[in-house]
């Protein structure tokens, strides 16, 4: 990736007629992509440096960021959202990815019956929209309907039930777990694919050396699927720091109770569009979007330039 513009000297001197068809093939995709995605992104980054002063849009440098980070009213919600977002991400990393890996490891056991059925069924929630997932869980966890308490009663845990979504201490964890429930299919599938790609000979060689079962998983398979674990981690990171829909459907735009489930996506929505008696603010919206962009960019760069480079890749 580093040798980007070393134009191949072998082909450079050859004069040929301009190959217009290349431009024709590229043009539609490049135009749509640039106009709808790249330019608005750049424009959003630019807007974060401007603000309304006396009805005029003027360049204000980094003062929007200063406001966001230290203004008593806004900064409190910002740091709260950022902290919640981090917890949201950590829960996904600690629950979603290990569960996904465990499911994939079980599914990839050779000659397991019904493996296709399990795989297909476990992937179903991933296909549903956040709206559906959010409301289903809201109903299930609702004390009015009583599904959750009566199910917990079956295993003698009824005393442990609480309206988790309504309590500030537990709401964020509950919402994160709902999101984990929905998305566990993705790490499962990617790790499953990686496990299937491990050649038979490697596993046979391990078996000849007496490495089977658990120790085979830890010593042979896990190191071989590390690159895939890297990919699911970065996908989780990008997805989590850009999440919005689930929280919006389950807890509303205010991300209650008391802002305890507010993450950057919901904060961006409220700031940009306004909500109830809060006025919409384009510049602050752009500023929050820029911060999200920088966080995601930092994560992706860390992955591409540090983690992925250090990771050993095995070619079979």
């Amino acid at each position: 990736m580093s040798d980007i513009d070393t134009a191949d000297p072998a082909i450079a001197p050859i004069k040929r007629p301009t190959r217009w068809h290349i431009a024709v093939f590229l043009a539609p995709a490049v135009l749509v992509y640039t106009a709808i995605m790249i330019l608005p992104l750049i424009e959003t980054l630019r807007l974060s440096l401007y603000n309304l002063v006396d009805g005029q849009t003027v360049f204000v440098g980094l003062s929007n960021f200063a406001t966001l980070f230290s203004d008593p009213r806004l900064s409190a919600s910002f740091w709260n959202a950022l902290g919640n977002n981090l917890i949201f991400f950590v829960i996904h990393m600690l629950v979603q990815n290990p569960v996904g890996i465990a499911l994939a490891a079980m599914l990839s056991v050779p000659k397991l019956r019904f493996a296709t059925f399990y795989r297909t069924a476990i992937f179903v929630p991933t296909l549903l929209s956040f709206v559906i997932v959010g409301f289903i869980w809201k109903l299930i966890l609702s004390p009015i309907w009583g599904i959750a308490p009566s199910l917990m009663d079956l295993v003698g845990l009824k005393w442990a039930f609480a309206p988790w979504l309504g309590k500030p201490d537990s709401a964020l964890i509950t919402v994160s777990l709902i999101s984990v429930w929905q998305y566990v299919g993705i790490p499962m599938m990617l790790i499953y694919a990686a496990l299937l790609n491990i050649p038979e000979e490697v596993l046979e060689a391990a078996e000849c050396d007496g490495i089977t079962g658990w120790s085979q998983f830890w010593k042979i398979k896990l190191p071989l699927i590390l690159p895939s674990i890297g990919i699911i981690s970065i996908l989780t990171f990008v997805g989590n720091f850009n999440a919005f829909d689930l929280i919006y459907t389950v807890q509303g735009a205010l991300a209650g109770p008391d802002g305890s489930t507010d993450i950057l996506g919901t904060l961006l929505y409220r700031t940009f569009f306004g909500f109830q008696n809060q006025m919409g603010d384009r510049s602050m919206g752009a500023t929050i979007a820029t911060v999200m962009f920088l966080i995601i960019l930092a994560g992706v760069s860390l992955y591409l330039f540090v983690i992925q480079r250090r990771m050993r890749r095995y070619q079979f």
Binding site: I22, A29, E43, T44, A121, F135, F293, V300
Partner: protein
């Protein structure tokens, strides 16, 4: 003998774990579908029971169909999804062909530029996208959604399709060139038919986030005329929170098309993921 038994126990435990997780994954969906066909009393009295003749009731569906224009929402979602997928496939395949077939100055740079969008979510540009759509007079039109979803789907489509196009034999394309086919004919008549399986995979990957998206319909097209199913269900449920029959029926109506499509395309999707299309 002892070894055979331990492996039997192990397989049993694996099945137990997988069955439990399958139940966890499917139970909420099952619960919603089952209860949407029951009367209000039955929903609360015995939520786990399958509807019987005495508890069977379609009142929820009647409310949904009378109150919300669900067919209209479906139509909107279908139009947006189908048109966006068609554009992503066409434009994506064309760009992927240019990148994988020809060596030209800036090829790698162009590839990286187009790949940026795989990692950076289009949502972050929302502020300026809305501004642009307002300026272009496209707010509350399906065109706005189609454009956004096309841009959103292109990066991954180009990435996957160019990987596949590299595997199309050069001899075939060169034979076509010798026979006097234009580059366009080579693309449309030789290459496209050969990458059809990859196109199907890309179509499924593109479809799911478009069909399920709430953010852009909410921001760019919240009008009654242009609501998608996801947004329609969201707003409907918001209004009818206390009408459990209606809520469960609306949810079921939103789940059903996805489930049907999944049953039809699940092999394609899973083969696409496991063949390493997304690496």
């Amino acid at each position: 003998m002892a070894k055979a038994r331990t492996s039997l126990v192990r397989t049993g435990l694996i099945h137990l774990a997988l069955i439990s997780y399958t139940l966890i994954a499917l139970f909420p969906v099952f619960l919603t579908l089952v209860n949407s066909f029951k009367s209000r009393n039955a929903i609360f009295r015995d939520p786990m029971a399958i509807p019987t003749p005495s508890t069977f009731d379609l009142v929820g569906y009647k409310t949904v169909l009378a109150q919300g224009d669900f067919f209209g929402y479906f139509q909107n979602s279908m139009i947006v999804t189908v048109v966006a997928i068609a554009l992503v496939l066409l434009f994506g395949a064309m760009a992927a062909f240019a990148l994988s077939e020809y060596r030209f100055r800036g090829n790698l740079l162009m590839g990286l530029y187009l790949a940026l969008g795989i990692m950076i979510p289009i949502r972050l540009g929302t502020v300026a996208i809305l501004q642009g759509m307002v300026a272009a007079g496209l707010v509350n039109t399906l065109t706005a959604l189609v454009l956004v979803y096309t841009a959103q789907g292109l990066p991954l489509a180009i990435f996957i399709l160019s990987e596949f196009m590299r595997t199309v034999s050069d001899d075939l394309k060169n034979a076509g060139r010798i026979d006097g086919l234009s580059e366009y004919a080579i693309f449309f008549r030789l290459v496209l038919p050969l990458v059809r399986p990859a196109m199907a995979t890309v179509a499924v990957f593109t479809m799911i986030p478009i069909w399920n998206d709430l953010w852009f319909p909410l921001i760019l097209a919240p009008g009654e005329e242009t609501k998608t199913v996801t947004l329609g269900a969201q707003m409907f449920i918001g209004q009818f929170v206390t009408n459990w029959n209606a809520v469960l029926s609306a949810l079921s109506l939103a789940i059903l098309p996805v489930l049907v499509l999944y049953v039809i395309f699940s092999r394609q999707l899973i083969r696409g993921i496991t063949s390493g299309a997304v690496k």
